[in-house]
Symmetry: C2
Subunit: 254 residues, 2 copies
């Protein structure tokens, strides 16, 4: 059973990459064969797993433009059960290059046929453009990282409307897997107010696990490792392990 999940939010800096990398690592640690697709031209997920800007070729761009098959592009990471398809700067040209293509929203979907993974997780860029649209059309569901700040709350309704539009026009089976609250600081009154607000309005769509603000999560990428490997006992890493457990329980129920 292959599950494809997009990690998306057009608001910038809310923890999409941090969630993608640590969730993938936690899933791989429970022996689920996991593939991370870095779908952001910034390539932050690639960097987080040790593939800095010199080691990105071949990347997702060669797959989308049908130059190379997935088998050649997909790479093993240092973490057992976790493979990655890296992103390069070429990906930034995707929107203009494919804007006239009739099937411009399902380019990624076509590339993900016949794959043998338990989970495929897609890290999206901070926009609702053609890249994120492709990711949503290719996915069974979407996980929304939500920073506990005012702008992030404002952007949530825009994102949920986009998901509804994709369901209606392109992909009726798309669901919202859940909303994960990130960068939470218990001393910050605004953060607490946003958490209360989101739990009240979105109820069971919100994961119980809240990801705390934790410096180990932001230090790990400079060592080319996920926080789960860089500092397993940190509060940040432990929160992502609990989140992965919540998602796996959710999958069993479905």
């Amino acid at each position: 059973m292959k599950k494809i999940i997009s990690i998306a939010n057009q608001k910038g800096g809310v923890g999409k990459t941090t969630t993608t990398v640590n969730l993938c690592t936690a899933l791989a640690a429970t022996r689920k064969k996991t593939l991370l697709i870095d779908f952001d031209p910034q390539g932050n997920s690639s960097t987080s797993l040790g593939f800095d800007s010199r080691k990105r070729y071949p990347s997702i761009y060669e797959l989308l433009t049908e130059q190379l098959p997935l088998k050649t592009i997909c790479r093993q990471t240092l973490i057992p059960n976790l493979s990655i398809v890296t992103a390069s700067e070429d990906l930034a040209g995707f929107e203009v290059e494919f804007s006239q293509d009739e099937n411009r929203v399902s380019v990624l979907k076509r590339c993900l046929k016949d794959l043998d993974f338990d989970y495929i997780i897609i890290d999206c860029p901070p926009a609702l453009g053609l890249l994120t649209l492709n990711a949503l059309v290719a996915s069974h569901s979407v996980i929304i990282p939500l920073q506990c700040e005012y702008f992030a709350l404002e952007g949530l309704s825009q994102l949920l409307q986009t998901v509804k539009r994709v369901k209606k026009n392109y992909h009726p089976a798309l669901t919202v897997q859940g909303i994960v609250l990130t960068m939470f600081d218990g001393r910050n009154a605004l953060n607490k107010a946003v958490v209360r607000d989101v739990r009240e309005t979105m109820r069971s769509m919100v994961y119980q696990t809240v990801i705390p603000r934790n410096v180990k999560l932001s230090e790990a990428p400079s060592h080319g490792k996920p926080a789960l490997i860089y500092d397993m006992r940190s509060v940040g890493a432990q929160a992502y392990i609990r989140l992965a457990a919540e998602i796996i329980r959710q999958e069993r129920k479905n």
Copy 2:
């Protein structure tokens, strides 16, 4: 003398909007006639100045598609000497809609002719797509907010390459006005290391003023006011006043 400055960085959540809104307010307070252009479909600058999603029409989209003149779209804010052109969600369609237009990179530039402001400041979305390209081509210079984190540092070289490419292909007079370090927490070793690193490599391009992490800066938008009005005495607001003074001094020298 009219100066047009873009506030740009493809990395998300680094303080582009917070810098745009508070810098504009500080410039207006020194009696400089200032226009803020919200060029991000999220519309966070519009929200920060009291124009929530129900009050955005007419917006920059009607200007770019030549439906209405700037005089009709430009609005006075609650702050003397500060006007705004709001952004709406329609702007998200700009990239695909103008992708085949020969002059697709200078659509905004054509709209900003014959304006009577001392400063025009453009808040850019978190991407290096057609919107940011238009902003850079329309501007005299660019200010780069840089979060004191690892990913932000990695993205800086990509952004400086894009600025170089715009200078070479479209707009030779474009300059980097400066780099402003944001969300700095003196207790965080990574933040301190990034500040040291950036000052060493980028030297005089980096402003002396460093914007501290300050909860008042993130609370102000929920009140529809800039931090300079919401809490003038906060360390965040005071840092933006110092930054504005540094920029005005820089302008006098040129």
